[in-house]
C-alpha cells in the first residue's frame, strides 16, 4: 500500500463511524468494549484510508473467539457488496486511566492487519472524552495505533492530535505513538465533536446495538440503521 505525498499514511474517519463507537462505549461505561472499522483505501489518495463505517462488537468477554469469528465473517460478507472491508479495530478499556493496548486488542489487530495491512487500532481516550463537554477540541477522542513495518518508520506529524497512533514495529509490538505534534487520525467532518456532544446530552447511547446484543436477541440489528436519523 502506498503512502501519501508526504510519506505518511492517514486515516480519515466519518462522523457516523466515529460517533457510533464512542456512543457504544458510553452505553457500557463499566465494561471494556470493542468494534471494527469498515472502509477502504481512498480512491483519490493512496495515502488515506477512509473509515466510512463501524460496527460495535462486544461489551463482555471480548477475548473469546467464537462470537468474534462469527461477527467478522458476517460483517465482511455484508460490506463486501459495497466494496468495503474491515480496515481496523476499536477498543475502549474498562478503566478510566488505562491507556494500554491490551493483549486482546493486539491479537485482534494482528488478525485484521493480516487481511488489511496498515490496519490501525483506535483506543478510546477517556480523558479527552471527559473534556469534550468543556472544550472546543475538534480532534478525535481516540488514540491511534498502527502496525509498523520493519524499515519504514512512519512519523506522527500533524497538529492537535487527539489520537495517538499505535504503531507495530518489526517485533510485532503495537505501540501507542505519542501525540507529538501530529495526528494520523482525522475527522472527516470537522464538527463531529459538536454532534457527538449533542448526542451525549440527549443520551443517544441508549440506542446503540452491538453484536453481543444481536446474538442475545436476533431482532436487534448490529447495523444500527436509523441510529442517526
Amino acid at each position: 500500500m502506498g503512502t501519501g505525498t508526504n510519506g505518511e499514511l492517514k486515516y480519515e474517519i466519518s462522523q457516523n463511524a466515529y460517533i457510533k463507537l464512542v456512543l457504544h462505549s458510553l452505553r457500557h461505561k463499566t465494561a471494556a468494549v470493542n468494534g471494527v472499522l469498515v472502509g477502504r483505501i481512498s480512491p483519490n489518495d493512496e495515502g488515506v484510508v477512509e473509515i466510512s463505517d463501524s460496527v460495535p462488537l462486544f461489551h463482555s468477554n471480548l477475548p473469546l473467539l467464537p462470537p468474534l469469528e462469527i461477527s467478522l465473517i458476517m460483517i465482511e460478507q455484508h460490506y463486501v457488496a459495497q466494496g468495503l472491508s474491515v480496515v481496523g479495530y476499536f477498543h475502549a478499556n474498562q478503566r478510566f486511566d488505562d491507556v494500554e493496548v491490551s493483549g486482546v486488542a493486539k491479537n485482534i489487530g494482528d488478525h485484521i492487519s493480516r487481511y488489511f495491512p496498515h490496519a490501525p487500532i483506535l483506543l478510546l481516550n477517556n480523558k479527552k472524552l471527559e473534556a469534550l463537554s468543556q472544550g472546543k477540541d475538534r480532534s478525535p477522542v481516540m488514540q491511534v495505533c498502527i502496525l509498523m513495518l520493519r524499515a519504514v518508520r512512519l512519523v506522527a506529524a500533524g497538529t492537535g492530535g487527539s489520537g495517538s497512533l499505535c504503531v507495530r514495529d518489526a517485533s510485532k509490538n503495537w505501540r501507542v505513538v505519542g501525540a507529538d505534534g501530529g495526528s494520523k487520525l482525522l475527522l472527516k467532518e470537522p464538527s463531529a465533536n459538536v454532534v457527538l456532544s449533542d448526542y451525549i446530552s440527549s443520551e443517544k447511547w441508549k440506542d446503540v446495538i452491538d453484536f453481543d446484543e444481536h446474538l442475545d436477541d436476533l431482532t436487534k440489528d448490529w447495523l444500527n440503521p436509523g441510529l442517526f436519523n
Binding site: T30, A32, S60, N61, L62, P63, L64, L65, P66, P67, E69, I70, I73, M74, Q77, H78, Q94, R95, D97, D98, G103, V104, N107, H214, L215, D216, D217, L218, T219, D221
Partner: protein, 303 residues
C-alpha cells in the same frame, strides 16, 4: 443472575419511571431485589423522593433503606457529595452502626483513597471476618487499581472459604478471560457446571473458552457443551447453534489430512440441524440478515 422475565419486568418499570409514569418505589425495590446496577436512574429518581419531605415521610422506616440505596448509586455515578449527605443522615440516625460503617468505607473507596479504604475494610473485617461484601470490595479495589493478579489472589482466597459462591466463580472466570488465561477460566466454569449442571450459561461459557483454547480435543469437547446448551435451552440459544457450526468447521480443518475422519456421524447431523435451526430463527426474527447467515454458514462448511 436475572432471568429474562425479570429483566423484561425491570425494563418495563424503568421505561415507565423514566417517562413520568410513576412506579418509582416498585422500580427501586426491584433493583434492590435483583441486585442490578442501574445507578444513574436510581440516583435520579431516588433522590427526587428523598428531596421531597412529603414523599420521604410517606416511606416510613423504608426511608433509611432508600438513603442507603441512593448513597451507593451516587457513589457509582461519582456524585460523592450526594453520597456524603446520605451517609450523614444515616450516621445521625444510626450512630455506631456497622452497616453505615460499610458505607463510609465504600465512600473512601469511591474517592480513590485506596490505602485508607483498605484500612477501613480491615477494621470492619476484624469485627466480622466472614463479611462477604467486604471481601469482595477488596477484589473490586484491586481491579480498580489495575492489579488483576492481586484481584485473582484475593478472589482465590475468598473462594477457599466461600466455595459455593457462584457469582465469585463467574467473576474469577471473567477476570481470567480478560487476561487471556483461558485454562484457568475453564477450571472455574468446570466448578460451576459441577455445582449447577442444569444452567446452560455455564455450559455455553465453557464451550466458548474451550474453543478459544483450541486443539482437536478441546474443539470436540466444546461441541459437546454447545450441544448441552442447546439441549438445556430447548434449541433457543443462537450462540450455541453458531458454536456447533464453528466447531464443525474447525474440527474438519484440523482433522483433514490426518486421516482422522470425524467419526461422529451424529455430529454431522447435529451440524446440519443447527444450521437449519439458525436459518429458521433468522427468517423469523431477522430476515434481512438471512442471506448473510446463509453465506456465513456456507463459508464455514468450505473452510
Amino acid at each position: 443472575m436475572v432471568t429474562k422475565t425479570e429483566e423484561r419486568e425491570l425494563n418495563q418499570l424503568e421505561n415507565q419511571v423514566e417517562n413520568g409514569g410513576g412506579g418509582v418505589w416498585e422500580y427501586l425495590y426491584l433493583v434492590r431485589k435483583l441486585k442490578v446496577r442501574r445507578s444513574e436512574i436510581v440516583l435520579k429518581h431516588g433522590l427526587s423522593i428523598l428531596n421531597d419531605s412529603g414523599k420521604r415521610s410517606a416511606l416510613g422506616p423504608d426511608e433509611w433503606i432508600l438513603y442507603e440505596q441512593v448513597a451507593m448509586a451516587a457513589m457509582d455515578c461519582q456524585s460523592l457529595a450526594v453520597a456524603q449527605n446520605c451517609i450523614k443522615v444515616l450516621q445521625k440516625k444510626f450512630p455506631e452502626s456497622k452497616r453505615v460503617g460499610k458505607l463510609e468505607a465504600l465512600l473512601i473507596e469511591a474517592k480513590g483513597m485506596w490505602e485508607e479504604a483498605e484500612k477501613a475494610y480491615s477494621i470492619l473485617l476484624e469485627d466480622n471476618p466472614l463479611d462477604q461484601v467486604i471481601h469482595k470490595r477488596k477484589v473490586a479495589m484491586a481491579k480498580a487499581q489495575g492489579k488483576p493478579s492481586l484481584a485473582i489472589e484475593h478472589l482465590n482466597k475468598y473462594l477457599e472459604v466461600f466455595m459455593a459462591d457462584h457469582d465469585a466463580w463467574r467473576e474469577l472466570a471473567e477476570i481470567y478471560v480478560s487476561l487471556q488465561m483461558y485454562k484457568q477460566a475453564a477450571f472455574c466454569y468446570e466448578e460451576l457446571i459441577l455445582s449447577q449442571p442444569t444452567l446452560p450459561l455455564y455450559h455455553l461459557a465453557y464451550a466458548d473458552v474451550l474453543y478459544t483454547i483450541g486443539g482437536l480435543e478441546n474443539l470436540i469437547a466444546a461441541r459437546k457443551y454447545y450441544a448441552a446448551t442447546i439441549d438445556l435451552t430447548g434449541g433457543k440459544c443462537t450462540r450455541a447453534l453458531l458454536g456447533i457450526c464453528l466447531c464443525g468447521s474447525a474440527i474438519s480443518q484440523l482433522s483433514r489430512g490426518r486421516n482422522k475422519e470425524d467419526k461422529d456421524m451424529a455430529a454431522q447431523e447435529l451440524e446440519s440441524l443447527a444450521a437449519t435451526a439458525l436459518e429458521k430463527e433468522y427468517k423469523q426474527k431477522s430476515p434481512a440478515k438471512l442471506n448473510l447467515l446463509s453465506s456465513a454458514l456456507r463459508s464455514l462448511k468450505l473452510s
